[in-house]
Symmetry: C2
Subunit: 277 residues, 2 copies
């Protein structure tokens, strides 16, 4: 169950699924961000996989509608036909995400849908799943230049100054895409020498740089080490300039993470290195 | 760009978006798993945010359709009306995910959609984003019982035997939900003493257990340390039994991760501890 923020709310949005509800929530949430000034309570109701749970949903939706004084919105990705038939009676504006599109796809493919649970978040045994877990372990072992062993196996090596966003991006690439992502900090010693850390030259084709504005970097570093030289705007200006100069000189593709989400950075890295996600 | 597996393929599915395309891909992929025996090449086309890029999409889709001998499927979450108008001419079966549902929502809310880019994956400055980065840092610092400092700040502390899935679940909870998740291994010394590690008793209300079948655990451990006592089926049987006995005795909720995806485990943890994602 998800309830994204504090009240007060005008209305409640339910994400109902026989699985995790992640698809319904991702989709519904994206759609709802196109409406402004609505105060929406978002509630995820996952694993609705029995008649009893389906009837619970009806009761819960009815009670919430009464409390809000407005009928709820419901995004549903129920696959099971019987459970879907029960939930469809809910006193809510129901947007049935799957059944809306299953029919045109059936026409297009000339085949019937199985109407069974998608495998997208369920197959814990598959090669893809194993790849993902291995990638997470790899990224943890190769965070912040911890280990040089195995860099040859990396799909990507992110470089950039400390706190430019390398760690979250590496973990996201591993978690969501099964990409083995190492990350390597660029530090003042590298700038003094005017060269990348030596062991990176062999892997130049896998390098991708992250940068950030000095102002934002100083802010982020100040949260960690307030009033340090490390966090000072002056030092951040110098480090960022030197890092960007070095990446330009070495011909490393890079982007500024300042106003970007982890998803946007990761998507850009995949595109730039033409990696399969 | 995403291309999930090797060929040969019957047909190509494009996920087209002015943002990352994650919503389109998550949704489309879930839907497509309900069709069996289709060999689909899935290609994500993110950041389609200019006329030029929109025309590139048309060319790319046409070329792919010709190569496949079947017109592609396109899931689109384009928000910009002008770009959407261009892409709508693609020679593909187009499923326009947003516009299908925007209208019923406009009716329901009695208000117009802004028809501008959703904020779901874009707002790098928000409180939610900061919370997420802090949670990732917290989970990294509190992985595998590394640090006791700050356990009071944890939203959840996962416990279980080594390799039961604690680390990926912790990172996922942090990354996707901004949940501060620590994890703490249950080791033979704990079983010999017949007690949880001492510092965990204070935080018992935050504990959630992960277990796994001995067979699967032995398999996973064998990949790490082949032919070790640690990985032997006999030792895994003993550890799993002792861990499950301890969790039962201490009244800790737990689940078996054996056939579960990270998303399913995380969703169950959120439900069990009634955490807001």
């Amino acid at each position: 169950m998800t309830d994204r923020s504090g009240g007060p709310f005008d209305r409640t949005v339910f994400y109902v699924s026989d699985g995790t509800g992640i698809t319904a929530e991702t989709f519904g949430h994206s759609l709802l961000t196109q409406f402004e000034n609505l105060r929406l309570r978002e509630v995820r109701l996952p694993f609705i996989d029995s008649d009893d749970k389906a009837y619970d949903v009806l009761r819960r939706v009815a009670a919430q509608g009464e409390a809000d004084g407005k009928r709820p919105i419901m995004f549903s990705t129920l696959v099971n036909a019987r459970i879907n038939a029960i939930v469809r009676d809910a006193d809510a504006r129901i947007l049935d995400l799957f059944s809306t599109f299953v029919e045109p796809l059936e026409q297009e493919f000339g085949t019937r849908s199985t109407h069974t649970m998608g495998r997208s978040h369920t197959a814990a045994d598959t090669a893809q799943y194993k790849r993902r877990i291995e990638a997470i372990n790899f990224s943890l072992a190769h965070d912040d230049g911890q280990s040089h062993k195995g860099l040859a196996d990396a799909d990507v090596i992110l470089v950039g100054v400390s706190r430019s966003g390398k760690t979250p991006t590496s973990l996201y690439l591993a978690m969501q895409h099964g990409i083995k992502s190492a990350n390597y900090p660029l530090i003042p010693e590298d700038f003094d020498r005017g060269r990348l850390p030596d062991m990176l030259y062999r892997f130049k084709h896998k390098l991708f740089g992250l940068s950030i504005t000095p102002e934002r970097l100083s802010e982020v570093r100040n949260e960690r080490r307030p009033h340090s030289r490390y966090a000072s705007l002056e030092n951040c200006r110098a480090e960022v300039k030197q890092a960007e100069d070095m990446m330009r000189r070495e011909g490393i593709s890079w982007l500024s993470t300042t106003t970007k989400s982890i998803e946007e950075i990761a998507t850009t890295v995949l595109q730039a290195l033409d990696l399969r996600g």
